[in-house]
Point group: C2
Chain length 524, copies 2
Amino acid sequence: MSFQQNQTFEINRNGRFEQIADDLGPILYRENVVVNQIVEVVKNKGKIHGWEVKSGGSAGELSKQVLGKGDQVILDFGDHQVGYLSLHIQPVGSPPDAPLHLRLTFGEMPVEMAESFSDYDGWISSSWLQEETIHVDVLPNQLKLPRRYSFRYLKIEVLDTSPKYKVSFDNVSIEAVTSADVHNVDTFEHKDKELVEIDRVSIKTLQDCMQDVFEDGPKRDRRLWLGDLRLQAMANYATVQNNELVKRNLYQFAAVPNQDGQVSANLFVEPTLIPDDTFLFDYSLFFTTTLYDYYQATKDDEAIHDLWMTAYRQIEIGIERLDRRCIVEDDDSWWSFIDWHPELNKQGPSQAILIYALRRAIELAEILQKENEKNFMLTQLAKVEEASIKYLWKEGQGFFVSGEQEQVSWATQVWMVLAEVLDQEKSRVLLKRLLTEPPKIEMNTPYMHHHLVEALFLVGLDHEATNWMKMYWGGMLQDGGADTFWELYNPTDKEFSPYGNHLINSYCHAWSCTPTYLLRKFLK
Amino acid sequence: MSFQQNQTFEINRNGRFEQIADDLGPILYRENVVVNQIVEVVKNKGKIHGWEVKSGGSAGELSKQVLGKGDQVILDFGDHQVGYLSLHIQPVGSPPDAPLHLRLTFGEMPVEMAESFSDYDGWISSSWLQEETIHVDVLPNQLKLPRRYSFRYLKIEVLDTSPKYKVSFDNVSIEAVTSADVHNVDTFEHKDKELVEIDRVSIKTLQDCMQDVFEDGPKRDRRLWLGDLRLQAMANYATVQNNELVKRNLYQFAAVPNQDGQVSANLFVEPTLIPDDTFLFDYSLFFTTTLYDYYQATKDDEAIHDLWMTAYRQIEIGIERLDRRCIVEDDDSWWSFIDWHPELNKQGPSQAILIYALRRAIELAEILQKENEKNFMLTQLAKVEEASIKYLWKEGQGFFVSGEQEQVSWATQVWMVLAEVLDQEKSRVLLKRLLTEPPKIEMNTPYMHHHLVEALFLVGLDHEATNWMKMYWGGMLQDGGADTFWELYNPTDKEFSPYGNHLINSYCHAWSCTPTYLLRKFLK
């Protein structure tokens, strides 16, 4: 996710929090994964981006293939992998009298094997495209690449050898890494096998995003975003339960707020802990709600004592944005995330997220016996809820509106339900209306679809929630045989990319891993 | 140099020789070299390949330049360098939210900075073009490239950063390496400053080719060729005197002959000592002459005792190629090197080289008191010399001929003079005729020009020899400001490349380093 530039902020660094986070650095579980088969990528209009793979031979055939200048082979590791590639290269013919020049292309999806990266024209950096050109001076060679990649498919292209020799490849393998221990996760049992498969792929998605921190996507941006962390943490409690990693990441955010005490929307952890200069209304509030969820899962009193001040400060900052009506001020900048949608107005859903966060902060204040803060927030909550009904609810339309243009979007309705602004019955009616009279401003990301499904479960529309999951996450399985769930999927516009090119999309993305949480919480 | 494929040979490995060679592994002298200036490459029809560099700013300006996507800078290290590049990369702007994608291009000559490597269309491997594309995940970064490069100029291109940050570069430096200790070389003093400059550049060329072995060229092929070794050893005795490196390389050739005892034209030293499957008539004989020269320089009795059998075997193999007339058999394959010239017939010069080698082998046999071998060779020498006059000398033309078509080439005359087939006076007349009635089959490499100049000195044509050196090696200085002497230079066809493209030519090449030997031997 990107971009907002704000060069004037200062970091108010807390060394103790940073040290606690450092001490919680996770163990990485490592597994050796070998090539599953040789494949070809062929056109198929029925599949996402128009490509699918077909078997091109067993893995055992690889070492028998002799590749010269211009030759290539595509390998399939059988499932999505995050890790480090090794391969053995054997010269064939005369002693190699010139370096070997190779191009290695890593792809999460068949399209990345089929379409040339040199045609990429998106607006975010092409440097995320997973491709390396390498010279190998000495052969035979046991090559180990130093960078980590996120992929299922590997294309090896021989750019040049010399007229006197060719090469063959063997022992192509990955050291796959994750900080998730998936071996002790309870099986999710259900008569609907599609839901069981959705649960399995959700956990795989979570697993591959769990590294040194909860990353948003191991292909791109490989970074700790608060919006992703919140959802990953929920899926984590329901499955692999690496709760210390959540704690680590919360302390990291709390260690580097800006001069106003606001936590950044995302952090860089290398070369040192640095907050990005992106600050988002909703993401800062999610620090507080993620701490609340963490406490519910762990009852870690020490952590809420340590992090309360940071959590409360995010609420204060949220309240500071209220206008005289007690509605959060809108503006034309990228001030709140909500969803990837160029026309989406953020006011309504942001108002709801403030309410959603206030409710959880009030509970934390009660646990910590912070009476003044609790009373202040209770007063604010009442005002903000009242203002939401007074100014944003349109009884005639039966929808909440957002912004000066009174935009009706999916996002505003969903978040108002999650914020429990209406009672449960009215929320149920609202969501039913949403499904039958869908607004033009739709949802573009699994992140937003997650919130819809959670809202449906919250008001008891379990059947609709389950069907939506099957339509949406099941759609990724059917359209592309997803090994992990994607950053972006719009069933009505399958080529959608907010970046101008689907090659740069992430196909294993944290905010898509939540079905396992939803299924295990609401369908047990 | 390339290529001949001969997959059937076996290696007759001598472990003791290999161990002696290993024990003689040289010390590499290391020197830190920093950027001299920023440059621009501009068109100039008067310079080689039509390009020259112009100053674009002091080295100190570099760290102030901020480069974003599509920007580039060209750096000049002030002289030819062989070594390992380090550079420090500093991000400018927001924290880097995407990898940095860089292309680094290394050039010995301005043309390599000016013309795109992707247009390369030569027939030897493009993998020799010194270019890397690199992703840098963490910034700031102290980047050290693992491969060794041969260059004076470095082009840094920023392929992509992200919309949020740019980069600047500083501390760009090279760890230059050589096994030549140039600090104790006597100054060559002469009133002609051009000759002094030619001597200096010769030694720099030798220095940059002296690595773990005597390499033919540090850019390409980075390999131990017998033809180059012979000339480098001569220049070495006259200057840096790392005689142990010559010894090491002779033992390496002797350690891995084929099943017939023939030494290969060149060796690979990594991953282990491996002979190339290229066997050349002239190069094998040069094993013997190089051992002879080594003994003259060192009086190393142990080495000639050890290596005599190998040296003598090369002579026997040469003699085995004689036909009933006692003329070496010609054929259409690439059986003898002599020079890079597609139309050059190799018979005449190869016959001369056999005579040249016989004379020296006979001296070695005398030192070693190998009476039988000595007598055999004396008999053979007489026959071969007589046949040369009888069948190859054309009294009417005043030239030696070569092959069925009775080709008259520079190479045949030059080598017949070096082989002392005629007496000195007749040789002098022959060379004078050569200069005034030049044959159509000319000389294409500094390697062949070296032999002409040595022949001129040998017959006392010192003035002509000196002028030729000034015309030829001096021409490289004038046409391209050569920092080191080039693999290829033809004053009448300055774009000449035997490889189909001048981008792949080596511009620091061992066989061009001999003027220092010629000047110091003949003009002292």
